[in-house]
Amino acid sequence: MHIFKLIFRNAFRHKLRTFLTVLGVTIAILAFGLLRTVISAWYAGVEASSATRLVARNAVSLVFPLPLSYKDKIRQIEGVKGVSYGTWFGGIYIDEKNFFANYAMEPKTYLAMYPEIIIPSEQMTAFLRDRKGAVAGRKLVERFGWKIGDIVTLKGTIFPGNWDFVIRGIYRGRDNTVDETAFFFQWEYLNETLKKAGRSWTDKAGWYLIEIKDPHIAADVSQRIDKTFKNSLAETLTETEKAFQLSFISMTEAIVVAIKLVSFVIIFIIMAVVANTMAMTARERIGEYAVFKTLGFRGFHIGGLIFGESIIITMIGAVFGIMLTFPVAKIFAHELSAFFPIFNVETKTIYMDIAASFVVAFVAGIFPTWRAVNIRIADGLRRIG
């Protein structure tokens, strides 16, 4: 007989209790994994950002534009490799609930800076040829059932009116960290239409995207750009793409902190549940542990039996929880694609699941082990009968 056989059989002595505890751990690990995935999804844009891309925006606020003339001045600054620009469009497709990111950009230079966005060459050519052309992400196209050649009308919020676009391309991400729910079109189309209507925001960009030669010079280049436009009518605030993305998240940081807190509360609750199971188990078997000690087994053997059982119960629940996380996250990703364009269960999350399970199993076993090891044999034997 191997001692593991005994641990395994002990774990299933009270089948209903073990089943309910395993179920509790499964649900807890599933919930923990999903909440950690939500947090990851929150930071997905940050994680996907490049260290060689800077974003320059109006120092006052993103809602104020920058003159188009800045483009050539930025290009001349030392350390700058390329410059592009874009403007947030904020259009609504049929209904507000159909939210997705949509913006105008200068396609050639912009897409050259995003090698992670992959567009078939013939679609790219068609997009560049058509002033009213637009490119949508694969998931967005799937969501609304669009196909190449379809006309999509967005209702402008920042730029009033109905805006028609022809889907000329569908992009996909180089890997699963790329948002495939965005919609972009030619900045020229926006600018010309605004010019014709005699509106403001003509020859203006919402932000500049700057490619630098070396990520180590990001701070220097940012300072040089901002210095160039110091005391102008539209001063700039230049930062790395990562910092730019983080500035959005910082607005909702309280929510992220709350989610993090809830995820750990779940682990704490399940810790109490497993600890209760193990405490009941150890209390019932205190006589048996006394018999083991009588036969010459020592404290670490008893601890091994209790911790082993705690680990088996917790890890079975954890395995089921982790296995369920993937299909459930897929459903979440589908249902919440408007809020979380990237909703992938990261390897880091699985490691956290496993680590949390081990912590639960270990903590749950501490008190029962302490009690079983420290009880006098004679007292333990008296509990039998």
Binding site: M1, G287, G296, F297, R298, L381
Partner: protein, 233 residues
Amino acid sequence: MDNASPIVEIRNLSKSYRRGSQTLPVLIDISLDIDKGEFLALMGPSGSGKTTLLNLIAGIDKADSGSIKVSGTEITSLSETELAFWRASNVGFIFQFYNLIPVLTAYENIELPLLLSGLTKKERRSHVETALSVVNLTDRMDHRPGQLSGGQQQRVAIARAVVTDPTILVADEPTGDLDRKSAEEILDLMERLVHEMEKTIIMVTHDPRAAKKAHKVKHLDKGILNAHLQTDF
């Protein structure tokens, strides 16, 4: 050690328990010798200290004062860890309620103490099969305790006690939970262990029939070994 000297030598042994601010003496100045191959019964009313004395001899409890030598080893001076090692190789336990592990088969229960011995699986199997044949339960080796009668469970417990070939066997009311027929079988088995295998058995019992099987009966009363009530058979 001299072959003629007792296998258990107890000198001036005292033990008391604390209950709140009170100290209750359980054993008072006990001195006792037990020879190798002896079958000793300890009798006395409830609370007389029989089980406490047995626990002290078996090294599962600590005395307040006095000395206990088992096969030349002064066990009162051993640490908890040393006592655990000592018990594993020197003491076989037989309990009133058998105290078998319910999730293990008869074979696995008997094998349990051997897991600490460092024997190979094959050697363990040989020892367990021998012990099973001694208690005549070879055909029940794959049964779990719940599938065995009380008498059979106690035989498994005896096999577990003898499988390591210990120096002494201690039995606390071994027939206390058995019907008369099963009790007789167990006592006969214990007698065989003494006669055929030269085991030393110290048994606590209330049952005069069980005590009659012993070579010697010692009476305890209020923690004092009553020399006047010693019975030799």
